[in-house]
Amino acid sequence: MGSRLSVVNALRGFLPARAVLYEEEDTRPYECDGLTAYRQLPMVVALPETEEQVQKILQACRALGVPVVPRGAGTGLSGGALPPGDGVLLSMAKFMRIVRLDPLARVAVVQPGVRNAAISEAAAPHGLYYAPDPSSQIACTIGGNVAENSGGVHCLKYGLTVHNVLGVRGFTIDGERVALGGEAPDAPGYDLLALAIGSEGMLMVVTEVTVKLLPRPQAARVVMASFDDVERAGNAVADVIAAGIIPAGLEMMDQPATRAADEYAGCGYDLAAKAILLCESDGTSEEVEDEIARMKAVLERAGATRMTVSASDAERLRFWSGRKAAFPAVGRISPDYYCMDGTIPRKRLGEVLNFIAALEKKYGLRCPNVFHAGDGNLHPLILFDANDAAELERTERFAAEVLEKCVAVGGTITGEHGVGVEKIDSMCVQFGDGELELFHALKRAFDPHGLLNPGKAVPTLARCAEHRRRHVHSAELQTAAPHSGLPRF
């Protein structure tokens, strides 16, 4: 294991002094990502600007046996970019160039530090855009999106990152160049591109991403529908899909969430409703008129108490602004919030929401819900005060129970935020030892010494055995919170 001095000296051999940070005042900004409950000062931060520098950093770390954690904008919500206290945080922030944008072929080749929204901005003059739109899209980078397989509010119709990235290139921990996928479809051999996307920086470091651009729809309108019952709103979602409609976006927010969002963003939500649905149609103007009429008919039959159709694009964006600002809005009504990301089959929505309501009582914590209803992805937000250690612990138990419920109803512990450090114990609930063993074997194929983002995403079998043992004996008596060795706040 390399000392700080040996690592700094090695990196300074080929990086300028300003690209190697190790003083606490310089490394402090990198101590956490969007999951601020987990903090760790990195031993060294490296800020390369070229692919050759990335390659040399990886080779140097490999030679010294030092862990490397890649980082984009640090907006991730699962602690995937939590730094190594004994290693190098590899910031890709300087890779900000759009290398090539080909409007005829509808592809953009971009560096990983390019912001998600910047791709669509660059493509806009050609009538094109990049479809996945995570709520953090003004800040998050495409490199981070690739690592997490990020989604957004338009996934049901347009897919996730994995459906919209054509190829990546980068390096293994040994500094070997790898190019996966490409502009030509169906690259020969195994679909390593699909394996790399969503691999949370565990397999390789990406230095260039080729994305697919889509024609911007001519028109888009959104219906805001109110319901006096959360379960009825959930059933309305199934009715829309049963009618053969695939909305461009289909989101649900419960009353506590709409109240917080409306106060923050002034988005004009129906605050008397127990839940609202935002149901968007896009396409040609003829298509949108036709689809909005069909959506309204279905929602009305499903018991909507009020419906408003956006009359202008400004109004449509205002309706969305509350949804996209839901997390910061909730952040204003509580000292802290803990965002969950489970996905469930839509038909189990009522059951899961009732389960969450019961946990609110059990743990004495409030939990507003925003929900990518179209694809079953829940984002319950537990409100708590992190300065109160007991409350933080109750929050984590609350969250773990919700994720177990998601698995029990046939869903998953994470739909789009990733496992990171946050949900690593919940992985033991979702997968058995056989699957976990295979995950570790896949990791070894790319990174035999376990130096890339170690300790994230996939728990060791020993850790799961311990987790299951504690769980069986008594969840209630569980005192040692996961990662209790990590500094908090």
């Binding site: 397989n149 089959p345 046939g410």
Partner: protein, 349 residues
């Protein structure tokens, strides 16, 4: 039934004796020559669950593709990637193992894009489950998608969950007389506009386009694009998907060349049919493998020897040394004894 598969695989692994995983055999021609003792997957059949409002179907590997598609059609839904069958016996397991998509690939997505989860018996006979029945799932590596197109070399796909979609309410097809170069430019220009394109095929001076979607959108696109209505459209697209079209007849090797959609016309000896908006170029050509692969590589793509009497040149484009090593190590992670469909994808594993 899965227990029988597991026992067969464990026993074969102990003897280090190759197994040839096989459904209906409709794609025996694809990839390199199969070898090993046959393990027939067809007895493990049937739809496990189908929830039209969840847009998800889960079925066992031996389920006939025609049966699965019929169940979906009954609920006005379909497999958006429009998989080729290449024979009445095609099974779901074989479909996923081959990973092939049909005419709708460019607009709707590939088979792997719709694969949500898979249960797999690995080379040690373990039954493993990856992904699931939900649209969004980032827990663990995406092993289900890795298995699509792996030709049975990573495991026996026992069961799979797929995303399905409602059938488009309206569909119409058009025909244009147009030369290859112009057709490629127009196809790319149209794809950059909000038009409901769902398939394209250019051959011998004529371009066929299929439009699918909401009735008003299809009507507006027809008015905008012009062309003449294509007679017998359903049979035509089927003949392209199933390779029953006259183009595919004859003894020359059939090459499947994948390129960036806007790549300039290739000049090879032989005849050509273009699909996927320019991204898939079928060639019936007697040109040597080296010449075809060099041309594909120069144009930014790759060439698969799809159907040929002699596949000694290897069905798939050779991998660079780093990718070849990763492939070998992944194969060893799933199948340490190297018994599952050895050589079917690449001779070395």
């Amino acid at each position: 039934m899965i227990e029988t598969f597991q026992a067969r695989i464990r026993e074969a692994a102990a003897r280090r004796s190759p197994l040839r995983l096989r459904g209906g055999g409709s794609k025996d021609f694809y990839g390199n020559a199969p070898r090993g003792e046959t393990l027939d997957t067809r007895a493990h059949a049937g739809i496990v669950s189908y929830e039209p409002t969840e847009l998800v179907v889960t079925a066992r590997c031996g389920t006939l593709l025609v049966d699965l598609e019929e169940s979906l059609r009954d609920r006005n839904q379909f497999l958006p990637f429009e998989p080729p069958h290449f024979g009445p016996g095609a099974t779901l397991g074989g479909c996923i193992a081959a990973g092939l998509s049909g005419p709708r690939r460019t607009s709707a997505g590939a088979l792997r894009d719709f694969l949500l989860g898979a249960k797999l018996v690995d080379g040690r006979g373990r039954l493993l489950s990856f992904g699931g029945e939900v649209m969004k799932n980032v827990a663990g590596y995406d092993v289900s998608r890795l298995v699509a197109g792996s030709l049975g070399t990573l495991g026996l796909i026992a069961e799979a969950s797929l995303k399905v979609l409602p059938r488009p309410p309206a569909e119409t097809s058009l025909r244009f007389e147009i030369a290859e170069g112009r057709a490629l430019v127009e196809l790319n220009r149209w794809a950059g506009q909000p038009l409901p394109l769902s398939a394209s095929a250019w051959h011998d001076g004529a371009l066929m386009l299929r439009l699918s979607g909401a009735e008003p959108a299809v009507r507006a696109a027809v008015a905008k694009l012009g062309g003449e209505p294509l007679a017998g459209a359903e049979a035509f697209w089927r003949s392209i998907r199933e390779q029953e079209h006259a183009f595919f007849a004859g003894g020359d090797p059939l090459w499947r060349i994948a390129l960036p959609s806007s790549a300039a016309p290739l000049s090879l000896a032989g005849r050509q049919l273009i699909e996927w908006g320019g991204a898939l170029r079928w060639w019936k050509s007697g040109a040597g493998a080296q010449a075809v692969r060099d041309a594909a590589r120069a144009a930014g793509g790759h060439a698969t020897l799809f159907r040929a009497a002699d596949k000694s040149a290897g069905a798939f484009m050779p991998l660079d040394p780093v990718l070849a090593r990763l492939h070998r190590e992944l194969k060893a992670a799933f199948d340490p004894a190297g018994i599952l469909n050895p050589g079917r994808l690449y001779a070395e594993f």
